[in-house]
Symmetry: C2
Subunit: 371 residues, 2 copies
Amino acid sequence: MNKSFTPYNRILMGPGPSNVHPQVLKALSKPALGHLDPQFIELMDEIKSLLKYTFKTENEATFVLSGPGSLGMEACLVNLVQSGDKVIVCVGGYFANRMTQIVEKIGGHVVVVKETWGRAIDPQKLEDTLKQNPDAKVVAFVHAETSTGALSNIKTLAEIVHKFGALVIADTVTSLGAVEIQIDKWQIDASYSCSQKGLSCVAGMSPITFSPRAIDYIKNRKIPVQSWFNDLNLLLSYWNGPGKRAYHHTAPSNQFYGLHEALLLLKEEGIENSWRRHKENSVKLVSRLKDIGLEPLVPENERIPNLLTIKIPDGVDEAKIRMELLKKHNLEIGAGLGELAGKVWRIGLMGYNSNEKMIEFCVNSLKDVIG
Amino acid sequence: MNKSFTPYNRILMGPGPSNVHPQVLKALSKPALGHLDPQFIELMDEIKSLLKYTFKTENEATFVLSGPGSLGMEACLVNLVQSGDKVIVCVGGYFANRMTQIVEKIGGHVVVVKETWGRAIDPQKLEDTLKQNPDAKVVAFVHAETSTGALSNIKTLAEIVHKFGALVIADTVTSLGAVEIQIDKWQIDASYSCSQKGLSCVAGMSPITFSPRAIDYIKNRKIPVQSWFNDLNLLLSYWNGPGKRAYHHTAPSNQFYGLHEALLLLKEEGIENSWRRHKENSVKLVSRLKDIGLEPLVPENERIPNLLTIKIPDGVDEAKIRMELLKKHNLEIGAGLGELAGKVWRIGLMGYNSNEKMIEFCVNSLKDVIG
């Protein structure tokens, strides 16, 4: 209790956080800057620009929230949903379900498109629901459902939504940097992600982007945004300069250094190369897991490349295995969440960790512990 | 744009952030941990315990929010205020004014106790307002008003409130660690702070504490808390274990390492010694500033020891002076905010920076630049 904390050197192959790139860790220790320092404002501009590259967007309202991805989820919903609005949420897992809870807190009327946990959202189900609810103002879905390992086709989903005129919110927490995302081409109106996982940075920040259409909608809302911290009108006064930035909150300078470094590394690699690397390593990991008798839950063409859900073999005490992996190999993998608790493990192969060495380490450790 | 970011080595003597202790910077770079790792849960428990020491409280609901102090402000208000509630806010500066904006967003009915910017809240005014509004559910005030340099007597203010039965929220963003705070003795029902300033840690986290009375109130609210991220019912399921922690969000492990180290350093010094150090150095700084013709705005017995507002001498271009301090001496001091913009500078002498060397550096730099 009275001494400095020394974390174990864990290999983080759960659903996140994943291991942080050493250069990012180093960046965190640089001297702090004031949140209105001209040099810090330059850093913010660079982060904006790098996030535009990462999200594949020209949206001016692209920046990072000073809180984790869950705060980003709330920020998107609270700005685009007004009390009384009808909101369609496609739910095939824990995180989409969280969206429905937030919409309810805003006073929105939730209509759920229900999908089996472990499957991509069926576009036909969304289209049918929209036909029955053409007055829906917003449609929200999760790109890569962290709780199930299923990747939905958000390009197709967004196309369907736009036929009905609603705004599209896509959760890209687990996909950003690791799976193809095209915010502009696919006409996603708002999206939030996290700073860890595909970006190889520390947890605690939420990259976020809003289309001009979404901004326009927010500026013309009748009911004021019910959150102060997440009110985009206020946030944009701080982020969108130059020369006229208004104080909003004290930005976490050192976290921003880490994010900047992580985004630079991603750009250096080339984002398309990063997508390809995650895909290729995923295929290798699945093949090696099959070698030791472990089977993925999600059908091949619906799998998140950087987050696999693996069925727990009969008779195996899943919690015991995870604890042994942690103790014996310093390896963290994830438990199942919600409906899949006790039924799957979640193995992340993300960002800095998506490489052959980690695949071998993970498979060998599992083999050793399961026996 | 395409290279790693190297911040200047600024001396941060504005209203915050202040310079971070080197040991804290070092702690930030340690390997990340999962938010449900047994070792991380231990770290969370230690942080809780260290925060209880720092806040002088036994409140079980004492923990740290994964976002800056502004998020802490919103968290306290959104949990303790329900739509339609009458809320008294004592406003003598920018940050108390922000509280009124948040209460309005919640749908509360704000009654303002107005105080002159640069003065402590007059307890008599609060008592008079409570007599006229005995149905007020919550009274909120700022301990150390960062925008004006005025320190209010929150012990006296809280005593008055308790005669009327309302809940007390105190902003301790600028005071925690630097000025005496006694959450339990003074019967403060909820308080939030920040991780920088008096704690010498990086920005981005908000230590927070709720009394058992506040928790009881929250658990019996008729209207659900309108924020998901800040809903105390959910946050406490994650923070208050052991053995039954429910996932809430991915906690920023490396930020927590920094906070843990900062709180340890504070405990090592002894919090009473830290309060004394800030007070003594404040007296020295004021005396040295007077030597060069600079006068504090706030009367002596109402001054925040770690944040001085200094009147700008006639004929001085205040923005130019600040820019020259930054360029020539790498020294950041703060501008006035809100009503005091253009009228004062704000000089912070906080945490790691509260020492004689910094006093001399600041005074000599000011003397050099003002001429």
